[in-house]
């Protein structure tokens, strides 16, 4: 279905090629997972399949590329659009119209499909994807997962043989991601559509994938079955890492497969305890009693109670719409609660102005791009110091903690998502707040960047800084957080040490945690500690 022979591509103005003499064969009907760090060429490879590279991006390309018996280098995106459907990362910015129906018709209109046939195809696609109820809706009223499914549907109306998806789930919550992935698996199995998909959270896709392409970032490419390739990459999810460490064969790709291996190990649980003793007499950093908020008539938060002690690292979890962001915005003072009391380090928040609050509280919003504007990273950090009326000297150890000391002279917008996230964090930490609130810090971030972020959290733990992190990332929580506060429909439905909450809510439990019934083993490190 897809053949690459000696494909070399260089972006305009770049010195080194991003793909160098790459060979690849993908059989028809395969489910292909493309992995690699940010900037390793995943997006480039995917965009070459429908001719966006080089027709849209420019640059120099050589070698042979054949997709569905056509040549994308010659035909370009328009010529390939009938046999390659594309879905991109951001659910917000790939729609032409605001109406689901019109969006689905767009590709067919461009191909002059007769009106009656369009009608029938739209019916068929919506029916096949089980999305008939979305037909009359406006796209701006849909959730992220629904939007990505509409994008998928609109790529299917021309009945392509290949679907190309560039990190389609990275901006979605776990529920939305699962909806999109199970839909893809069904299309692949029932319709025989070849699926090529890139993803940072490898573990989500592994159970479906039968071919894995890894881009190490040096212009080369490794492909093969996931079990063969994964152990040789830096992209292996915790489950595979554990399998490699304990010598499990065949390597487990899903929780189900791992459970039978795990049964054979005797675990020394009694000696191991992962609960970190937060000295219970530490004073409260944040105390919220009966906090409520509503957007118009929509109640976003009702009667939420929250206590965060100084020096704690607390995860705020829950489905989209459960009130996580609302709670953070209330704490920092962007919203005023309708009811309830809020104390920041014992002071009644009602008597604090926003300026006074942000001296103690730092808030890093979900989208780092909202903060970054300066020419260099150094300017970016200096700006915060100036805004707060502080001396220009950065707090000691800040750059090292974030691992951004080598980026100081770079233009922030040129960095990878993970690096940008940490620069944004640096821009907030430059003011030395005692409490830091983070909203989805690992969204769209690759594994290496996520590990860098975990190292930062480990350092902050030593320093005794207080952190409250809203996140969907169960692996991050299992690795770095002391406690989970779980929200559901605007109120706190569970609150306790990480392993206890994870044991009570399998949906919010790490993969390793679901393999072992022990309830105390959540990460690779935990298990290795218990085994040895």
């Amino acid at each position: 279905m897809i053949t690459l022979r000696g494909l070399t591509y260089t972006y305009p103005g770049a010195v080194r090629p991003v793909l160098e003499a790459v060979d690849l064969t993908v059989p028809a009907g395969a489910f292909v997972l493309v992995t690699g760090a940010s900037g390793s060429g995943k997006s480039t490879l995917l965009r070459a399949l429908n001719g966006l590279v080089p027709h849209f991006s420019g640059g120099a390309i050589s070698g042979v590329l054949q997709v569905a018996a056509r040549n994308p280098l010659q035909l370009g995106p328009r010529g390939m659009s009938a046999c390659v459907g594309c879905v991109f990362q951001d659910p917000e910015s790939q729609f032409v119209f605001d109406s689901v129906e019109a969006e689905l018709a767009f590709a067919m209109e461009n191909h002059a499909v007769p009106r009656l046939l369009m009608e029938r195809r739209i019916d068929a696609v919506l029916d096949r994807l089980g999305m008939g109820h979305l037909r009359g809706r406006r796209i701006s009223t849909l959730s992220g997962g629904e939007k990505q499914r509409v994008a998928l549907a609109s790529a299917l109306t021309l009945e392509p043989q290949i679907l190309v998806l560039d990190e389609p789930t990275s901006q979605l919550d776990p529920e939305g991601a699962e909806q999109v992935l199970s839909l893809l698996a069904r299309l692949n199995q029932d319709q025989g559509i070849t699926v090529v998909l890139s993803e940072h959270r490898v573990e989500r896709v592994l159970p479906h994938a039968d071919l894995l392409i890894h881009l190490p970032g040096d212009g080369t490419l490794i492909s093969g079955s996931p079990r063969e390739v994964l152990p040789h990459t830096d992209q292996a999810p915790p489950l595979v890492q554990l399998g490699v460490e304990l010598g499990w064969t065949p390597l487990p790709l899903s929780v189900h497969e791992a459970r039978s291996h795990a049964a054979g190990h005797a675990l020394a649980t009694s000696s191991h305890t992962r609960v970190r003793a937060v000295t219970s007499d530490a004073p409260d950093a944040i105390t919220a009693n009966g906090l409520s908020y509503a957007y118009g008539e929509h109640v976003a938060l009702s009667d939420a109670n929250l206590r965060v002690r100084q020096g704690e690292i607390v995860a705020l979890m829950g489905a989209n719409g459960s009130g996580k962001t609302t709670l953070l915005r209330l704490l920092v003072g962007l919203l005023r609660p309708i009811r309830g009391d809020l104390y920041i380090r014992g002071q009644d928040a009602r008597h604090l102005t926003l300026e006074e609050r942000i001296r103690t509280l730092g808030y890093v919003p979900q989208n780092p791009n909202a903060l970054l504007f300066a020419e260099t990273v150094a300017d970016e950090l200096a700006f915060t110091r100036r805004s707060h009326g502080l001396s220009p000297d950065l707090p000691e150890g800040l750059l090292e903690a974030l691992g951004i000391e080598s980026l100081l002279d770079q233009y922030p917008r040129d960095l990878s998502v993970g690096e940008r996230q940490r620069v944004a964090l640096g821009a907030i930490l430059a003011a030395e707040p005692e409490i830091v609130l983070l909203d989805e810090p690992t969204r769209g971030v690759d594994r290496a960047q996520k590990e860098a972020f975990m190292r930062y959290l480990a350092r902050e733990r030593e320093e005794g800084r207080t952190l409250l992190v809203a996140t969907h990332d169960v692996e991050l929580v299992a690795e770095s957080m002391d406690r989970i506060v779980l929200l559901a429909e605007g109120s706190v439905c569970d609150d306790g040490p990480t392993c206890d909450v994870m044991a009570r809510h399998p949906d919010y439990c790490s993969q390793i945690g679901r393999v072992f019934d022990d309830g105390r083993l959540l990460t690779v490190r935990d298990v290795l500690g218990a085994v040895r």
Binding site: R78, S81, D90, M108, R115, Y295, A300, G321, A370, L371
Partner: protein, 361 residues
């Protein structure tokens, strides 16, 4: 959803009526009819908040127009107070009639805004754009993108302003706008690139028609010639001989119509049929046309019935004809039909929860 053309007809009829009438009794009827339409189409959509804001804005505009009319008009019998005669423009007596006349004019403006707001809620502007003729397709696409782009940018701007504020940013002079403008600019740019990629991979191309380059050039030439004839005809008509001017004007119009027809016929696209004539559309169209016709007829045969100018004729209580009132009330037909027949799907997530409150402002 009703056919957008029917909504256009309704909004046009209502707007013409509101513009041609100053009689507050009929205006009130139009407002009530529009209110019913609003209840029928969209009381529980997220846009309903925008509707309220628009109406508040209209109320403010109205309140401003009242003193404006009252101070500029000095006719009428019932003097409320007198300003010194030597004040330019506003000097002289302020009369009750002028206040009422000003209020009636402001009321007509507010009614117009009311109609516009209801129309906006009832129909998707992008659907109307899509009904542009085939050769204007790309212009239509650009306009619809702008329609979705602008609200998204406003949302981004709000996020950026908040994020910078929390970082301690204060707005003092123009240089302080950089932390707000730069992220917005780069966000907009990234968004545009992503959208362009998405459109290209779904087969949007730069070419409009399947005509060869030769035919395309010919058509372009003819279009230019047609425009030229049109202008020449207009100039001739005014300056020299009317008949000759009319002839050339007609030739220009015919030539351009021919070009457009050809372009439309060879358009490489088909268009998805959103303009289905649904049940109830006939009733709405008929109601709108009857109301409009009655209003226009009344304005022609008995102008005193629809106009209201107490500062001119001294009549404080406006006249009312039940027949005309009934005709104007026909503007409520879409509301009635929607209430009985097709409530739009409510805006809930598929599991019944309201959608994505995490991203609400």
């Amino acid at each position: 959803m009703r056919n957008p053309l029917v909504w256009l007809l309704w909004a046009a009829s209502a707007a013409v009526l509101a513009l041609s009438m100053r009689n507050p009794l009929y205006l009130t009827l139009i407002v009530l009819a529009t209110w019913l339409v609003y209840l029928g189409v969209a009381p529980d959509t997220p846009m309903a908040g925008g509707w309220r804001a628009l109406l508040r804005l209209g109320l403010i505009i109205w309140l401003i127009t009242i003193p404006f009319g009252a101070l500029m008009n000095h006719t009428g019998e019932i003097v409320l107070l007198s300003l010194p005669e030597n004040w330019p423009l506003i000097g002289g007596p302020v009369t009750l009639e002028a206040v009422l006349g000003g209020a009636a004019s402001g009321y007509a403006l507010w009614t117009l805004l009311f109609i516009f707001a209801a129309f906006n809620l009832a129909t998707d502007a992008s659907q109307l754009m899509r009904m542009a003729p085939a050769f204007l397709y790309q212009a239509g696409v650009v306009a619809t993108i702008a329609l979705t782009f602008v609200p998204q940018m406003l949302q981004s701007a709000r996020e950026i302003r908040e994020a910078q504020r929390i970082r301690g940013h204060h707005f003092r002079n123009w240089r302080d706008s950089l932390p707000l403008a730069m992220p917005l600019l780069t966000t907009a740019f990234e968004h545009a690139v992503q959208l362009a990629e998405s459109m290209e991979s779904r087969g949007l191309s730069g070419e409009l028609t399947d005509l060869g380059p030769g035919r395309t050039r010919l058509l372009r030439g003819s279009l230019a010639l047609g425009l030229l004839l049109l202008m020449a005809g207009l100039v001739l008509r005014i300056t020299w001989i009317q008949a000759a001017g009319d002839g050339i004007l007609l030739a220009g119009v015919l030539l351009m119509a021919g070009v457009f027809w050809q372009l439309g016929r060879h358009s490489r696209r088909t268009r998805y049929g959103l303009q289905i004539w649904g049940p109830g559309d006939g009733a709405v169209a008929l109601g709108s046309v009857v109301a409009l016709a009655a209003g226009v007829l009344a304005a022609r045969s008995n102008p005193a019935l629809v106009s209201y100018a107490p500062h001119v004729d001294g009549v404080l209580i406006p006249p009312f004809s039940p027949t005309l009132g009934l005709a104007v009330a026909l503007l409520a037909v879409p509301g009635v039909v929607s209430l009985v027949q097709d409530r739009p799907p409510s805006v809930k997530g598929e599991d019944g929860r309201p959608v994505s409150s995490d991203t609400l402002p």
